[in-house]
Each structure stands twice: as structure tokens, then as C-alpha cells.
């Protein structure tokens, strides 16, 4: 298994050399997945908060569907987005296929259900915990949600990290809608798939190590922010 040692050497060399192609691929990976996360949070968090508080007919069925969508295979979603964005599809005229935008769309759709379903759970649990107090304070639903989101921010940050993790790690959707075009839509995961296809296993593994390092740095940064703001004491 000399591939492992070779992979670590290659990964170190790649990162230290600041290889411009690698930096470009890393930057695009972060841009696509962070954008997808931003969109997913903007849509998923309010949706989750609403579902946590609201009671209406069919809510349980909706929750089951939402929870099930967390398991949507990226390749299936990629295929659906491809069919929509293809020139032969309903949104073909936009010419978005094989662009980073298409990848952002696919990843947003992939992780919005995750953000919505998990934040629903977080907020609903908190709501149960604080229910008595809310009733005694006669808070409006909006005010109630605001308090719950603030109180649940630590768990909600973890929810966002879960969404980000899913987005940055997936390959099935972006390789279909992005096309893995060099310098245009090639991200870490599709580059890894390509190097594997070339039989360059050590290089593929090295890229994987770089990807895991990035994930580690992102999570570390979030932890540092928490500690810096003293949030951990309340956690």
C-alpha cells in the first residue's frame, strides 16, 4: 500500500507548492458549496422554524417527506437538475448547464431539506422546553421564533455545518450538472473522480486529504468563533 504514503507526500507537496490549478479548484469548491449553504440556510431555516411552530393539516406527512428528502441521492438530484437545465429541458433557454450556477442550484436543492428538517427538530425541541414561559409572556409567533433561533444557535450552527459537509463532499450532482470542465466547473470531488479514473490513485487520495483538511479548517473556524464569543459556556 505505498499509495498511502505517496498520497500524504503528494498532498503536502500540492498544498505547500500553492499549485494555481489546485487553488482554483479549492476556491471553486468553497464558492459553490458556501453559496449553496447560504441559499439553503436562507430558505431552510425559516421553513424549519415555521414547521416547528405551525400546526396544520398534513404537517406530519410533510415532515415525513422532508425527512426522507435528506436521503435524496445526489446523483438523482443531479439528473433532475440536468433535465431541467438541459437545452431540451424547461429551463434550457437560460443556458445555465455546465456553469458554477448550475452546481450551486443542485447543491442548494440537495441541502435545503437537510437544513429545514434538522432546524425544525432543533427549534421544536426548544419550543417544547420553553413552552410554559412563552405562554406566560404571551409572545407573538415571530418573537417566539426569534428567541428560539437565538437560543438554538449552537445546534443550528451544527445543522449548517452538516449541510455544508454534505454539499462539499458530494460528487454525484455536480459532475452531471457541472460537467467537470477544467478551469470552469471542476471542484475537489470531481477532480478526485477524474484522477481515480486515470488510475492516479495516489493523487486522487492526496486531493481527498486536501478536501478533508478544508473541512477540518471550516469546522475549526466555527469552533473558534464559538469559543471566542464565549458561547461554549452555555452549550
Amino acid at each position: 500500500m505505498q499509495d498511502f504514503a505517496e498520497a500524504f507526500r503528494l498532498a503536502a507537496r500540492l498544498v505547500l507548492s500553492g499549485d494555481p490549478t489546485l487553488m482554483e479548484i479549492i476556491a471553486l469548491s468553497l464558492r459553490v458549496s458556501l453559496s449553496a449553504l447560504a441559499i439553503a440556510v436562507l430558505v431552510g431555516l425559516p421553513a424549519g422554524a415555521f414547521l416547528a411552530i405551525a400546526r396544520f393539516a398534513g404537517r406530519n406527512a410533510l415532515l415525513v417527506v422532508l425527512n426522507a428528502l435528506m436521503g435524496l441521492p445526489p446523483v438523482v438530484l443531479g439528473l433532475l437538475v440536468y433535465l431541467a437545465l438541459s437545452r431540451a429541458g424547461p429551463l434550457g433557454a437560460l443556458g445555465l448547464l455546465y456553469t458554477p450556477t448550475a452546481m450551486i442550484i443542485a447543491q442548494s436543492l440537495l441541502i435545503t431539506p437537510i437544513i429545514a428538517a434538522l432546524s425544525r427538530q432543533v427549534i421544536e425541541d426548544l419550543d417544547r422546553e420553553y413552552g410554559e414561559q412563552f405562554r406566560s409572556l404571551c409572545l407573538s409567533p415571530y418573537r417566539r421564533i426569534a428567541v428560539l433561533v437565538r437560543e438554538g444557535r449552537l445546534a443550528l450552527t451544527t445543522v449548517a455545518l452538516a449541510g455544508f459537509g454534505r454539499a462539499i463532499a458530494e460528487v454525484g450532482a455536480v459532475i452531471i450538472v457541472g460537467g467537470n470542465i477544467a478551469h470552469v466547473t471542476r471542484v475537489m470531488t470531481t477532480a478526485i473522480a477524474l484522477e481515480t479514473a486515470k488510475g492516479e490513485l495516489a493523487l486522487a487520495l492526496a486531493l481527498g486529504l486536501v478536501l478533508m483538511t478544508i473541512a477540518l479548517l471550516v469546522n475549526g473556524a466555527v469552533m473558534a468563533i464559538r469559543l471566542g464569543t464565549g458561547d461554549e459556556r452555555h452549550a
Binding site: L42, R87, A88, Y98, T196, K198, G199
Partner: protein
């Protein structure tokens, strides 16, 4: 109405910054960008490094960038039918001619060729080493029930493989899951699988030469005329798909079938081997003779 919390403000800032970072990419990339075409292509030409070597020359000459989507021939043709590409460069002549006949493509031009080879474990349990006939080799593999890794993905290589089984009077699908193993993936992934299983496989020579994870595999059968592997280039029909970049796409086809592109293909070497042999000019002459 939100309690003024610096943490929430910070979080909001991060989210907004991330959203803004995404915005430049969210706008359709057109204005001020250099012209480009999308080339729906087979994987062998991309994975072997050919495009990296020759496409910059075309871009330098014409200012047109070539964005390569490298997928199996079957998928490339499907994508091109949907209009998701300007030019198609693949290697399944029958399917290419059907593509043009059905009006999806304007015309097919020969570009280059290489050949397929049969690779397998050095121990060669089916005893095919040095056979002159690919179908005879396939018949022996079936007879020995020796593991064979098939693309199984409707690619140009897969179609060629199925024709060879037919010529060998073997129905490999009947043995699917036993000695016949369909990987359903690209050439590289299939070679990775063959390498891990010590299985036989059919591969184009270009991918094989470029392939870095051979394990115990080696070329066992080559040189049969049935293993000829021609590549064709087709402009997607603007009459079917009006957004097709006819001028830029045609410029690419003219270049790759012209003296400069053909010379670039012939000059490409990997590990000292010539991977692709240009044949556009020869075809043009043959057509004149007709």
C-alpha cells in the same frame, strides 16, 4: 425585532458574505467572457491528456476556449441530442452516423484513430496471449470463465466489446455477475476494477498507456483489424438547436481536421508513445476518389 446580539450579527454577516461570494457565479457567465464552445467528448481523449496538449493551440489560434465535458460516448451523444454541446467528438461510428442521419448532427468527419487492446493478468488463465483474433480471444475467455471487466455503460468501447462477443458467438450477459462483470463506469474505473480483480478487459490504447494503476495487467492481444478505433467529430445541428455556436464549432472542426490540428494530434506523445493517429486528410482524399 431580533435581539441585538453580536453573534447573530456575525452569523448574518458570514451568510451574506457567502451569498455575495456566490453571486458573481450566479449571474449567467456571458458578458465580457471570451467565446467558448462546449465539446461533448468521450473520456479516452480527455483522460489520455490529448486535449490538454492540443486544445491550447486551438485557443491560441482562434481565441475560442473549448470546454470539454468528458463522458462515455453513449452519454455524450445523448447530451448532444439534447443540445447540451456545440460539437461532439466520440468513437462509435454506427451511432455517429445515426446521429447525423436523424438530423441531430450536421456531418461527420474523421479525426483520428487508435486501436483497442485486450489486457489481462500476466498469468493469462484463458491462454489468449498473442492471439491474432480478438473474437477468438473472447471465445477463450468465455470458455475458461475467466473474469472479464466490462464497461457496461453504453460507451463506444462497450459497443465495440459487445460486437466482439457477438463475433465470438458468446452471450456474456448470461454470465453477468459471475465471470462477466459489468462495472457500469468509465474506462479508468473499469481498469481499476480489472486490476483489482485480475480480470481481462477491452480498453483503448490511449487510456491504457496513460493509466497508472495497472497492477498485474498487461496487453495480451493487439493488432486485429477488428480492434480499429476511429474517432469522429460532428457539429450539433443548429437547425435543431438554434443556440449552437455554429461559427465557433465549425472553426474547431476545421482546425482539428485541418493540417495544424492533425499535426498536433500526431505530435502528442505520452510516455514516449504516439496515442492517436490523425486520419482526416486521408478520409478527405478517399472521398474525392469516390
Amino acid at each position: 425585532m431580533f435581539p441585538a446580539s453580536p453573534r447573530i450579527a456575525a452569523l448574518a454577516l458570514v451568510v451574506i458574505a457567502a451569498a455575495l461570494a456566490g453571486l458573481p457565479g450566479a449571474a449567467p457567465a456571458t458578458a465580457g467572457e471570451k467565446p467558448f464552445i462546449i465539446l461533448q467528448s468521450t473520456t479516452s481523449t480527455a483522460n489520455s491528456g490529448l486535449y490538454d496538449a492540443i486544445l491550447p493551440k486551438f485557443t491560441e489560434r482562434t481565441g475560442i476556449e473549448v470546454r470539454v465535458v468528458a463522458v462515455g460516448t453513449g452519454q455524450a451523444i445523448k447530451n448532444a441530442r439534447n443540445g447540451d454541446g456545440d460539437v461532439l467528438l466520440v468513437h462509435d461510428r454506427a451511432a455517429e452516423e445515426r446521429f447525423v442521419a436523424e438530423g441531430w448532427g450536421v456531418a461527420r468527419f474523421d479525426v483520428m484513430y487508435n486501436d483497442f487492446v485486450i489486457v489481462g493478468p500476466r498469468s493469462d488463465p484463458a491462454g489468449i496471449r498473442g492471439l491474432k483474433s480478438a473474437s477468438a480471444a473472447f471465445a477463450r475467455i468465455a470458455e475458461a470463465k475467466a473474469p472479464f471487466a466490462s464497461r457496461g455503460d453504453n460507451s463506444g468501447t462497450h459497443k465495440k466489446e459487445l460486437r466482439l462477443w457477438k463475433a465470438a458467438h458468446v452471450d456474456p450477459i448470461a454470465a453477468s455477475g459471475r465471470w462477466y462483470r459489468e462495472t457500469g463506469s468509465g474506462m479508468g474505473a473499469t481498469l481499476n476494477a480489472a486490476s483489482a480483480m485480475n480480470a481481462y478487459a477491452l480498453t483503448d490504447r490511449g487510456t491504457w498507456i496513460a493509466f497508472a494503476n495497472r497492477g498485474d495487467l498487461a496487453i495480451l492481444v493487439e493488432g486485429d483489424p477488428a480492434l480499429f478505433n476511429p474517432y469522429g467529430v460532428i457539429l450539433v445541428n443548429p437547425a435543431r438547436h438554434p443556440h449552437v455556436k455554429r461559427r465557433e464549432g465549425q472553426a474547431f472542426i476545421d482546425w482539428i481536421t485541418g493540417p495544424e490540428g492533425q499535426a498536433a494530434i500526431a505530435a502528442y506523445r505520452l510516455k514516449g508513445h504516439q496515442l492517436f493517429f490523425p486520419n482526416a486528410r486521408r478520409e478527405a482524399k478517399a472521398r474525392e476518389r469516390k
